[in-house]
């Protein structure tokens, strides 16, 4: 009987290790989060913090998941952002990706930013021609949505469009998802598979507080 018990215990341990390994695949991986850089500026009586993101057509080995998908589009350095509560986020996005066009033209409108405006290469705009969009930066629960103009097909290599905008985050801490509304995942159905549905590429979380 003793040997049977040891056999059972051994079996349980092996099984437990396997299960434990499996479970780790589901745990929320603590992602490399980037925090906003604080500035001394204020806007509307709130502190302004800075973010600088870059969108690229292929993340290469810099992407999430140890370079599992080097050819996927994505935001760099990461899509996990952290800002202090109640701040004004001054977001600068270096847009290096080409024009794809929006599935729903409505997201060509700038909404939810300060004055409902964005600055594209220094030019103030309230909307973008939907067919020129490469990505959007959209936080649905905060009502923030900004279309990002794509680099024209005939532009020289390393061309880049700089989009800037400010938005206010709530005074209460919380976790807000954000995503892109341009079907930019080439080769997937409706352009909405792969990077559009994988955290760290075209989907991310904004942690407030």
């Amino acid at each position: 009987m003793r040997s049977r018990i040891w056999l059972l215990v051994g079996g349980v341990v092996v099984f437990g290790v396997l299960v434990g390994f499996f479970v780790t695949r589901f745990l929320n991986p603590v992602p490399p989060q980037i925090a906003a850089t604080t500035t001394s500026n204020t806007l509307q009586g709130r502190h302004v913090v800075d973010f600088n993101l870059t969108t690229v057509a292929a993340v290469g080995t810099a992407g999430q998941g140890n370079g599992e998908h080097p050819n996927w589009v994505g935001y760099l350095p990461t899509t996990y952002l952290k800002v202090p509560a109640g701040a004004v986020v001054h977001m600068t996005i270096d847009q290096e990706d080409g024009q794809t066009g929006l599935r729903n033209e409505y997201f060509g409108l700038v909404r939810g930013t300060v004055n409902d405006q964005m600055t594209v290469d220094g030019k103030v705009m309230g909307a973008l021609d939907p067919s020129l969009a490469a990505h959007t930066f959209t936080i649905p629960d905060l009502g923030v949505s900004v279309p990002l103009e794509g680099v024209a097909g005939n532009a020289p290599a390393n061309a880049m469009i700089v989009v800037e905008f400010n938005f206010v985050v709530p005074d209460k801490p919380g976790l807000f998802r954000w995503q892109c509304f341009v079907p930019c995942a080439a080769g997937t159905l409706y352009g909405n598979g792969g990077p559009m549905q994988t955290l760290g590429y075209m989907a991310g979380e904004l942690q407030v507080g």
Binding site: M1, R4, I5, L8, V19, F22, V23, R25, F26, L27, N28, P29, A58, G67, E68, H69, P70, N71, W72, G174, L175, R177, G187, T188, L189, Y190, N192, G193, G194, Q197, T198, L199, A203
Partner: protein, 630 residues
């Protein structure tokens, strides 16, 4: 055996290892061919491979596994003109003298296969249950904590799909395979190799499904709705191949059972005297054989959608998401009766034993199950009441769905009739039977709200639905499964797990189960949709209550497994020959059951429920000591 074993037998002994080698070779060939030979541009930037590579790799790995196990030996041998196997070969394939090792190779003995099924089902149940614990932990808070939006959906998909796999075979697999031939006086199944195949499709299916976590997971849940499935990453391919394998297993098992029950009955056993459990298996087998092909067809279409960019389910390409929804639920609704009809049969089989009464209304019970079987093919669109498909058909599907409560009600009538004025023996299995009727009653009544179109507008796709089908599958089928395990283990293993602790275990599982799912019925009514990781804050208290009860439920299910392992594997507590004093023929044959069940097949058969006269179901002649009855 005095002669040295032949090469074929030696290979068979090492079948499992050869199977694994075959699977690896198959996967490599399939992956290479799929990746390089099929021109392909879809999602090609995935460093893990392409859809055709993964799909073909998995498909061929299953073929390789089965070939290694030895499933191709007989057909190919016969094609090449090999001799028919001798009696001795057959006995060997049946596991003669195999000891414990016969459980790890392909055998044609339905008793070995029944026990293999039992272990496999319990493993699926355990892993799926762990998934449920993880899900409930996540839902303690209204926003993501332990999982994230992505891993949570894969978790939900794995839990549900594994449990569906488990439930499709939970009763038919172990008990149908083990007892149907004995109950009908057959020495073997009609298609014993096919029967072995239905079991050996399960381990690859389970492993392939679990492998999805290495391929990015899938976000569609067990329903696999297209075109979301077309959009998913490689992890979806695991789901598709695994579900196709399960579909084949269900369908082939149905064919084998139908042929066995129709052609292998002992002389003197007409259909009208078959034990009620055999009837339930017969009905279920028709459901499986007729419904599973729809699933396999749908899965194949999805495979083509994903690998060749056909657009069966993509509207912009001329296809329709409704095509998947229709095919899937045409399978999916009969599937839920594949779960529960065998449970009805088992429960009605056990009730007379504990009430010491004949089964009251045997004929209406059979009619009820046949009625459920027939109706279950014409109700599937109740899953599509709010889908926008053919709204003018809704009254019909509402009517046909509600009609099912008539044959289901008959089962309750039969149970009440059998219990009426009986001095019931409250053994552990009887407790679980009571639990079955209690839970399934709630499952049935919640179903009425879902069958009615106006109330379904509110309840559809909410946690109400989730709680409803957990009441029928877990509260119904799994409770019947636990009753059957306690009841039949003495026959299947010669050992018993019937202890005092098991009574406590029943009450624990019964109370925590109801606590969990009454909480979930409530969150559903209050507006919580299924499969969400984030929910409205006002739903948190009820979710916490569900989680706390669910932990208790998990612990008490683990206790059941623990008692099972301890009593049967460790202590090896020897059981009485006929501990429940049943009249059924399965308790009249010796334990362990002889290799081919009957040395001499009885010819005089009656229904095994004559507890008022104490007459056993089959007359074994004077050699067997007369049974004492009640």
């Amino acid at each position: 055996m005095s002669t040295p074993p032949t090469l074929a037998r030696r290979l068979n002994e090492w079948g499992l290892l050869l199977g694994v080698i075959g699977a690896v070779i198959g996967f490599i060939i399939g992956f290479a061919v799929g990746t390089h030979a099929i021109p392909y541009s879809f999602d090609e930037d995935n460093s893990l491979g392409s859809d055709p590579g993964i799909l073909l790799g998995y498909a061929l790995s299953v073929v390789g596994f089965l070939a290694g196990m030895g499933f191709l030996n007989y057909p190919i041998g016969r094609l090449l003109g090999a001799k028919r196997p001798t009696e001795e070969d057959n006995a060997y394939m049946h596991g003669e003298g195999g000891g414990l090792t016969r459980y790890f190779r392909m055998t044609t003995d339905h008793k070995v296969i029944g026990l293999q099924y039992l272990v496999m089902i319990l493993a699926f149940l355990f892993i799926g249950g762990l998934g449920a614990m993880f899900i409930r932990t996540e839902l303690l808070t209204p926003s993501p904590t332990v999982a994230n939006a992505q891993s949570y959906l894969t978790l939900v998909g794995l839990h549900s799909t594994l449990m569906i796999f488990m439930a499709s075979a939970a009763i038919i697999g172990p008990f149908g395979n083990y007892f149907v031939p004995i109950m009908i006086g057959a020495r073997n199944m009609a298609f014993p190799r096919l029967e072995a195949l239905t079991f050996w499709l399960l381990p690859p299916a389970g492993l392939i499904l679990l492998s999805t976590v290495f391929l990015g997971g899938f976000t569609t849940g067990w329903t696999g709705y297209a075109p979301l499935a077309d959009q998913n990453v490689l992890g979806m391919d695991s789901y598709l191949i695994a579900f196709a394998l399960i579909g084949m297993s269900i369908g082939l098992s149905g064919v084998n059972m139908i042929a066995t029950i129709m052609t292998k009955r002992a002389p003197g056993l007409p259909l009208s005297r078959m034990p009620i459990f055999v009837w339930s298996v017969l009905v279920t087998s028709f459901l499986g054989a007729l419904a599973a092909p729809a699933l396999i067809a749908a899965v194949l279409m999805e495979v083509f959608d994903r690998s060749y960019q056909t657009t069966f389910f993509v509207p912009a390409g001329g296809g329709s998401p409704y095509l998947w929804e229709n095919l899937f639920w045409f399978f999916g609704h009969p599937e839920v009766y594949i779960f529960v009809v065998p449970a009805f049969g088992l429960v009605m089989e056990m009730l007379p034993v504990f009430t010491r009464r004949p089964l009251w209304g045997y004929r209406v019970a059979v009619g009820g199950m046949v009625g459920i079987g027939l109706l279950s093919f014409v109700v599937w669109q109740h899953h599509l009441f709010v889908s926008g498909l053919a709204p003018s058909l809704r009254p019909f599907y509402m009517f046909s769905t509600e009609l099912i409560s008539v044959p289901t009600g008959i089962i309750y009538l039969v149970a009440l009739g059998t219990l009426w004025r009986a001095r019931t023996r409250f053994t552990v299995p009887m407790l679980f039977i009571f639990g079955f009727f209690f839970n399934f009653l709630i499952g049935g009544f919640t179903g009425v709200f879902l069958s009615d179109v106006p109330s379904d507008f509110t309840l559809h796709a909410s946690y109400f639905v989730q709680a409803h089908f957990h009441y029928t599958i877990m509260g119904g089928e799994v409770f019947a499964l636990m009753a059957a395990i306690v009841y039949y283990l003495p026959k299947m293993t010669g050992r018993t797990m019937d202890t005092k602790l098991l009574r406590f275990q029943f009450w624990a599982v019964f109370i925590t189960f109801n606590g969990t799912f009454i909480s979930l019925i409530s969150v559903g009514i209050l507006g919580m949709p299924r499969r969400v990781i984030s929910y409205a804050a006002y739903l948190q208290p009820l979710n916490i209550s569900a989680t706390v009860f669910a932990y208790g439920l998990g612990l008490s299910m683990a206790l059941f497994l623990g008692i099972l392992l301890w009593e049967v594997v460790i202590k090896q507590k020897v059981a009485a020959r006929n501990p429940w004093e049943s009249l059924g023929v399965e308790w009249q044959v010796p334990t362990p059951v002889p290799l081919f069940n009957f040395d001499q097949v009885p010819v005089a058969w009656s229904l095994p429920y004559d507890y008022d006269t104490g007459k056993p179901a089959a007359d074994f002649g004077p050699a067997v000591p007369a049974f004492s009855g009640a």
